[in-house]
Amino acid sequence: MKTKEFLFKYITLAAASLSILFLMGIILSIFKEGLPLFNDINFSDFIFGRKWHPTDEPADLGIFPLISGSIFVTLGALLVGVPLGVGSAIYLSEIASTNVREALKPFIEILAGIPSVIYGLFGMAVLAPLVRKLFNVPTGLNLFSASIILGIMIIPIISSLSEDALSAVSKELREASLALGANRIETIFKVVLPAASSGVISSIILGFGRAIGETMVVLMVSGGAAMLPKSIFSPVRPMTSAIASEMGEAVNGSQHFQALYGIAIVLFLITFLSSLLMQWFAGRENRE
């Protein structure tokens, strides 16, 4: 018995440690491939350079248009996803009856399970032509369409985590507020939401991380032009779609290859910071 337990403990420990190993492996490899780039070009030219022409001779390797593409698409997605996600969480947790809640939740979960390529197809075939006609813009493959699709994609993440946070607020707090004469809406916005703010904020940060790292949708819907967006209807080329569409042809060790890994480093740092931030908010909730 004792040896069995002993074995079990170490097998599960090994399983748990593997993820650390994988993380380290990924970090090491992107830095190993990407860092040599900065022997040739300087870091701020890379980050703030306005031109991305990686296969020209000589190549222009400025990723500022790509970074801004990612950031704008993600902010747009949050503008769509946060009100809808948090709104649905408030409804499910505070307003809906148990029956309605049980009926609605599976749909939100199904939304979470749809593969991103299907979101991309929908965006390309349905939303983009609609956006083009509705707003009378030259093309529907742009920042606006990509933001909407990504926004819809992150609704389930924001909604389910926010709902957990809202449901965790104690009943006494609500009852006290109602007893003091506040109505239901005042109770939701002035008592329950602030009490659940850490959880809601971490759900939004998680949604941010999901949106900025999403590749397939932006590859299919954002248009792919490496430019600083001039309006919300400009085509953009987020970092992920540049890596995905160019990595296949970049020969190992070439400058283009290193630059794509350089983009991966930037992307990794952004998502790493956002998950640190999320853990900090989640931790704050526990401390309170």
């Binding site: 031109k51 022409h53 990686p54 296969t55 020209d56 248009p65 983009a128 032509p129 083009r132 030259p138 093309t139 529907g140 493959l141 590859l219 248009g223 792919g224 032009a225 490496a226 430019m227 001039k230 400009s234 085509p235 080329r237 569409s245 160019e246 296949g248 042809e249 970049a250 020969v251 190992n252 070439s254």
Partner: protein
């Protein structure tokens, strides 16, 4: 039923066992329709052979052959000196086989009133010097320039023959395949793009360039200027099953496939 089963089977094969086939090929989305149809016909005749075909763009095909990741790299442009050198450094001796001829058609939406342009006008459109169809005698409508990713051989050839090395305007849409360009041009009234002949259909309008209609005849007699060859690259001269497959494409039956998919057979 049998057909559905074999379709399912080939889907699983494609999805799960890309490297399990006897012949693997990747690269140009222009060459893809030829490679795909030839592979299907060839596998019908030789049920013991598996051929898997992926797209990705010419750059991908050539880089895959340089890195020894596939048996055949498809390309719609010729390998660059730089790439041949890289291959040599990897111990790979790249051998070229021309499998078909092709033209690059400049396409617009069928609703566009413009039917012909000069090379100079096309260049100006893609460079961004002309940005409204009105400036070319068409309706007042902003021009939506649709180009291809940097891994595209069609883009490289277009850049060389039409842009003469110049750059495409920075707000051009960059799409990942010939098919994506064709379907976006078909959907977008103000669009202009370029595709291999295999992607022409009645959903897009191919423009006369310098007064010459793009077709097999004008490419063959050299009057249509935007043309190129389509290539398959191998490591060393093709041998065994790979040679048999490439010989099949070069045979009269294979060249019939080239024709069937909309490209121009070798003479």
């Amino acid at each position: 039923m049998k057909k559905i089963l074999s379709m399912l089977l080939s889907l699983t094969l494609l999805a799960g066992f890309i490297f399990a086939g006897d012949i693997t090929m990747s690269g140009s989305t222009t060459v893809f329709p030829i490679a795909q149809l030839a592979a299907e016909r060839y596998m019908d005749k030789h049920p013991d052979v598996n051929i898997s075909v992926r797209g990705g763009g010419s750059g991908v095909g050539i880089s895959d052959i340089i890195l020894g990741r596939v048996n055949i790299g498809n390309a719609s442009r010729q390998i660059k000196n730089k790439e041949t050198k890289q291959a040599k450094e990897n111990g790979i001796n790249v051998v070229e086989t021309v499998v078909a001829n092709d033209g690059i058609a400049i396409v617009v939406n069928p609703s566009n009133g413009i039917n012909k342009l000069t090379l100079e006008q096309v260049k100006k459109i893609f460079a961004g010097e002309v940005s409204n169809w009105k400036q070319l005698g068409g309706a007042s409508m902003p021009i939506v320039v649709i180009s291809r990713d940097v891994s595209s051989g069609t883009f490289e050839v277009f850049k060389e023959l039409v842009l003469k090395g110049g750059k495409v305007r920075e707000d051009a849409l960059l799409l990942a395949s010939n098919n994506a360009v064709a379907s976006n041009v078909a959907e977008t009234p103000g669009a202009i793009g370029y595709v291999g002949f295999g992607f022409l259909s009645d959903k897009v309008k191919a423009l006369e360039i310098e007064g010459v209609v793009p077709n097999e005849k004008t490419v063959n007699d050299g009057t249509y200027k935007i043309s190129r060859k389509l290539y398959m690259y191998t490591n060393g001269a093709p041998k065994g099953e790979i040679k048999a497959f490439i010989d099949y494409i070069l045979s009269s039956e294979g060249q019939e496939i080239v024709k069937e998919t909309g490209y121009i057979p070798l003479k």
